[in-house]
Symmetry: C2
Subunit: 240 residues, 2 copies
């Protein structure tokens, strides 16, 4: 119906998509929640938050290769949870480093396919939509990188030495994850030494001279950081 | 037990608090929701969103004077809703102007007590906490103004002519309402001609040479702007 791809001068009509990896960063100690258990392990609707995140990635692409970065102190805890919940989705556990930068670098070292697209995703963002995941991975395939953002809906003020002043919020975007990159390009960027300005993977990539390609995120793709967020999440997952 | 205030050189031990006003801005046409009804009137848990907001203000201070700014097209609609829900909380209806600036100015003109504290609050922020309201009104009493803010939890990027670049999010704050002011000071600021940089009342106040005093808001004090927000709100109001 579409003709024989093999006849078209060796160029396939069905271009091969790059392999897809997801590095799920969940090595935090969760101090901010004031709870004994790091927040990625807190149970929401009967499952650790992190399982909801992995389920969403699998819903997006059942063949995605998931690298889950945990603090080694929680390896056995996680394995127990996987058993207890009979959690079936395949994933590889990676030992995290001191900072997010080091955690991502550890996971990146485990990826050999230089042409693959890797999405780096916060373990505590289970509400990322399949549409956002699709936009990010597709745009990274085309542009080499893609970072999901949403507009700033509230007024914004900047703190300075002398006080604070209003800024034009339409000039700013709130950054989410997954931040997606062609593996070879990201590996180059992560060869730089760590710097405290690296608050996310886009900032590492940018510091290496790259331009960040922004795509639309989804507004309810919250990073679960406070008890209020957890309460929000619980209610948002009611229908799912 | 605390002594007789009248004996202390005429200085009362129980300083009189200023009268309190709330200007609730709800004159928007709600175009962004894609719904026929402006979002402040959408029903959540059996009541228009706006009634939840007024109830929260009353919970904070039962003696607060509420000025509700509506578009004149919705005066009769609102009165019907008040009847239908047997809504008892006292409030004065004010006709809104073209922009938020003009709406607030109309309401401000109706306040004669120059020493009062007025809090200007978005009609679509029903989740403001009593603690935030208390912090704002108390700080405005002391400093002449108070604006509630929360930290930026996600990475932030700034859009420029040549693309976009990461900024240090710790230097920014997200602004909420109520924005509280001593009435005489705010009236002075609102004598300025309208400017498109006036995105909130703090920016008007600041343009008049005043310094903004920031206080802590509450993170779930969301401005209901999108259908996702409305869904969030519905679930957050479950327990209340």
């Amino acid at each position: 119906m579409f003709g024989d791809p093999a006849l078209a001068d060796g160029v396939s009509f069905f271009p091969m998509k790059s392999a897809r990896y997801a590095i799920v960063v969940a090595a935090g100690s969760g101090k901010r929640m004031g709870a004994p258990l790091p927040k990625q392990f807190l149970e929401v609707k009967g499952k650790p938050l992190l399982m909801h995140t992995l389920m969403r990635l699998h819903e997006f692409d059942a063949s995605i290769n998931v690298l889950l970065v945990l603090h080694p102190d929680y390896f056995s805890y996680w394995k127990e949870q996987v058993m207890r919940h009979a959690f079936q989705l395949p994933h590889t556990i990676i030992a995290g480093g001191e900072e997010r930068f080091h955690s991502v670098k550890c996971a990146l070292d485990a990826i050999e396919d230089m042409k693959a697209i890797v999405g780096i995703h916060d373990g505590v963002r289970p509400m990322v939509s399949v549409e956002t995941l699709t936009r990010c991975f597709d745009a990274a395939e085309e542009f080499g990188n893609a970072v999901p953002v949403v507009p700033v809906n509230d007024s914004l003020r900047e703190i300075s030495e002398n006080g604070n002043h209003g800024v034009d919020r339409s000039r700013y975007r709130i950054v989410q994850t997954p931040q997606c990159f062609r593996v070879n390009l990201l590996k180059q960027a992560f060869n730089s030494p760590f710097h405290s300005s690296f608050t996310d993977d886009a900032s590492v990539f940018e510091s290496n001279g790259n331009t960040i390609h922004l795509v639309e995120g989804n507004r309810d793709n919250l990073k679960i950081t406070t008890p209020e967020d957890l309460r929000l999440l619980e209610s948002m997952l009611v229908g799912s």
